[in-house]
Symmetry: C2
Subunit: 570 residues, 2 copies
């Protein structure tokens, strides 16, 4: 039931951590609504003049929207709050001594739930990494002598248990965060709510058309839609999988093979450079393709499209990041190359990536600024001299790049890239833990710098991002869980490789086939439920409709009884 907000009922609301009444997301939405609600309320069309152009504003047309269409208003974006930004810069981005702890509440207040969730996940992940890192370091330094045979499996079991605990405790932490931010529902309810919100809108629309899922015809339509959607999703996933297997896999294997047989160091470096360039291109095209494919799926709401996209793009990057490692580890049992490549990936590319991540926006900004100043100078003529600067803060911030994902800005913001980076790192350290226990230490160093560079990027380099509601890590959680299961299998194979250096262990082809079949079936068992939803679409539509109807009826009745009382009073 929706009631108007009245100032004297203010005590009924839960306050934000800083004492204000509305969150940054809510305020942003209000501003947005206010700005776009400036419409032509006159009886006739209005004619506006600007820069010699004449603009005809129709009745009830939004002024700002028109200006945007005409190109007079170039962008609507939230500005940085200089005072808070400086404070955050001091407390957070430049506070190098708090290795993993961050002022999450302040981040939430400044950036909204989604970014705060990312940083608190990153912080917790890094904090938890200290355990395996310490153990990995111990394994590397101490010589266990005859116990060496038992130590590695023990480490493996520890790592998997650690990961399982970590994921579960992250869920608990996420629940705590929800409670802290005044979101009054449990984690699973929150997820359900997300998808419901969008379908509720649809139902509202259906409701007006007198759509009733109880009728057999409408039920049939909904059922058909659901299965059609499923088929579309399967088709798209097949396309992506085929593209990965038929196009990417041979390329990756070719690179790994060439790397394996090349002996000169310079050639290797050259090869890697060429490979990186090519694969960058391929994954970008793949990402764009995925975005296009997503549009042809009728996903239930934005959240589900985002998840579908995450799975597809992760598939691409999974192949890119790990297939070479698998090649070295499993096919050639070449653990030295594996370690080499792991170090290279974790240190060199991540340092480079962090540098690029920060330098690229800065360079872009500088170039834009230079161009803008140049243009202004040109306009005002050269007579005024060299003292021309960008006058306002707004102009400066407009020139800064916005926080967007590499795969386009429609569905996701820049957090997509950051989560992707994190998931790939997690996969790397988990799947090859047994081959190189030191890998966890590199990951820690990486993540501690990652926290600060990401913070700096957000605070200094980019426009203030538009706040988003999502307060969980969404589909990435499933990806992390999938990586744990994969890690169990790969580490087992690695252990076999390690203990069987001479290749004496024989495995009958029949037994191998049965083992592979077992793993495929386990995958089916645990993967299938992600495909077919628990609740048929028509039941869901019905349920949401019932809720809406009950609410409507209830509030109508209440209002009627109140107005009855008022009528009697008069």
């Amino acid at each position: 039931m929706e009631l108007q907000f009245e100032w004297d009922q203010v005590t009924a609301f839960v306050r934000q951590p800083d004492g204000s009444l509305f969150s940054w997301f809510e305020r942003f939405r209000c501003f947005h609504h206010l700005l776009y609600r400036i419409v032509n309320r006159a009886e006739a069309d209005l004619t506006l003049k600007f820069d010699g152009k004449e603009i005809q504003l129709q009745i009830n047309e939004s002024l700002l929207k028109r200006f945007e269409d005409e190109g007079i208003v170039k962008q609507v974006f939230p500005l940085h709050d200089e005072k808070k930004r400086k404070q955050l810069l001091k407390n957070w981005a430049l506070n190098w001594f708090d290795f993993t702890s961050q002022p999450v509440d302040e981040i939430y207040l400044y950036y909204g739930t989604k970014i705060a969730t990312y940083f608190s996940f990153l912080g917790m992940y890094t904090r938890w990494l200290f355990f395996p890192a310490a153990l990995g370091l111990a394994l590397q330094l101490i010589d266990f002598g005859s116990m060496q045979l038992v130590v590695l499996p023990a480490f493996f079991i520890f790592i998997i248990s650690w990961a399982v605990f970590f994921i579960q405790f992250w869920k608990r932490k996420n629940s705590t965060l929800l409670a802290r931010w005044g979101i009054n529902c449990s984690l699973s309810e929150y997820k359900a709510l997300d998808t419901e919100r969008s379908s509720s809108n649809r139902v509202h629309a259906d409701h007006e058309k007198n759509f009733d899922a109880n009728k057999p015809i409408e039920k049939k339509i909904l059922q058909r839609d659901e299965w059609l959607g499923l088929l579309l999703r399967i088709r798209n996933n097949t396309i992506v999988a085929l593209a990965i297997i038929c196009l990417q896999l041979p390329f990756e294997l070719a690179y790994a093979h060439l790397y394996e047989i090349t002996e000169s160091y310079i050639l290797k470096l050259l090869l890697t450079a060429v490979y990186l360039l090519a694969i960058q291109y391929y994954t970008q095209i793949g990402g764009k393709m995925s975005v296009i494919l997503i549009k042809y799926e009728n996903n239930q709401g934005e959240e589900s499209s985002a998840a579908s996209l995450v799975y597809k793009v992760f598939g691409l990057y999974f192949m890119q990041s790990y297939i070479g490692l698998f090649y070295h580890a499993l096919l050639h049992r070449n653990l030295t190359t594996l370690r080499e490549v792991l170090i290279q990936r974790l240190i060199v590319s991540q340092v480079l990536e962090n540098l690029i991540e920060n330098a690229y926006p800065y360079l872009k900004y500088s170039y834009k600024k230079y161009k803008a100043v140049h243009k202004k100078k040109h306009e005002k003529g050269s007579s005024v001299g060299k003292t021309i600067r960008l006058a306002t803060r707004v102009e400066k911030e407009y020139l800064k790049p916005s926080y967007t994902a590499c795969i386009g800005k429609e569905l996701e913001d820049g957090l997509f890239d950051d989560y992707l980076e994190l998931a790939l790192q997690f996969g790397m350290i988990m799947m090859f833990a047994c081959a190189f226990p030191l890998v966890f230490c590199f990951a820690i160093v990486n993540n501690i710098t990652e926290i600060r560079t990401d913070a700096l990027k957000l605070l200094v380099m980019l426009q203030r991002p538009v706040p988003r509601t999502s307060a969980t890590i969404g589909a990435w959680l499933n990806i992390f869980q999938f990586l744990i299961v994969t890690a169990i299998c790969t580490n087992c194979v690695l252990l076999v490789c390690l203990y069987d250096q001479e290749g004496k262990w024989r495995i009958e082809p029949g037994l191998a086939a049965i083992l592979i079949m077992e793993h495929v079936l386990l995958l089916i068992k645990f993967g299938f439920s992600h495909f077919v939803p628990e609740e048929p679409a028509w039941v869901k539509a019905n349920r949401v409709r019932n809720v809406v109807q009950a609410r409507d009826m209830y509030s109508k009745q209440l209002l009627r009884s109140i107005s009855n009382l008022e009528m009697k009073r008069n």
Copy 2:
């Protein structure tokens, strides 16, 4: 917000399938409440006389409760509705030609959600069984020649996919049932609601004591309670597991071994009889022990205790039912004995069980009736002759046994036994599918008779059970899913046994150890999340409290504004 039910607002309610306003459960609760609300409203204690006894009824004491304590009222139970019972008997229990389809709505109206859910699950399960049964029969009859090697793995893959589909589609069916019965929430919400209902009561109690989970002390108490509860649960599960492994396992193995080496058929039969007697005793004691252990866990609400009990008792029966089969199949690779035992279990014991299930209550009833008649005869003296009968229907139904579980009636009703039987059968047919594909046919025959005998038992033999709210199959779903995963592993081992009759396949001890480790880790990965809940207890308490508080505040404010209006009116 709770409002009084008013007759003129009746259109706002969703009707039951038969057009009545309240479900059988709601009506039962109302009757119950009305009966027990007859209290002494006088200013002083009342003295009642009955059969020469004097009973002092204190102020505000419930009359019926007192009568129950004194033994005047022996039992309060719902009576059968003769008209509807006869109709159901005709449409359902004796309608042998509708093999698996049942009048679910009528069952729901007569018995409530829980029993209707059981029967619709049983019906769907039996219906789905036709696919693998047909395939299993084909496998048995047709000679595939050289293709035989490929046929069995294909059958295995089909069976697992079938089971996975079945479970997912059961969830969908359950959602549909919820919608049909006017329960307006999704399956996962429904589960959450179940646990919430009980904790909400606790919070209400806490609320009165001014308990606030925001305060650090109370938060600490709740956190301590949660971890203590977890430790208690782990301790109890360890006790059960140890009892199973140390007491039951040797016994079971001894029986299986003796069965294996005994050659005389009569000795085998004798052995089985002794074994069945002993194991019956053991499982009953185990069940009772589990119920006692449960009481020392601080489970959140009844639903969670019931689940905990289900897991423990199933552990006992799992060992009892399958370990012998494993012994024959894996250790001795003796597939003929395995098949023999399977047939024996599925046909002989299930037929016997069905007979006992129905005959035992009938005999009990007859005996009780005989005794009651005898007693009456005795009381009235032998002069009246032999025409004494039980006068009223109430007396007759009182003598019928009630619908209780074998492990005691506190937590579960008779459905526990029925679900247990079903789960054990499912495990049997899934886990040994590859050794004996015909097993599915036996299961179908079994289930078709099971539907009718269970219906007969409920309609004819027993008292009408007290309706229960639960509208899902609860923890049994997890058991079914666990059985599917186990089936994947056992069938793989069976396939190895089948294809490697000569025992030529060698597996290195190192490789075997790694494989076992892998499976244990996979079990940890998929089992752990059942142990630690996603949401910390204090967050949950806080959330529920917030909801309660908001509701209270909201309704108070509303009432205040209405009364303000009324005051102004006067």
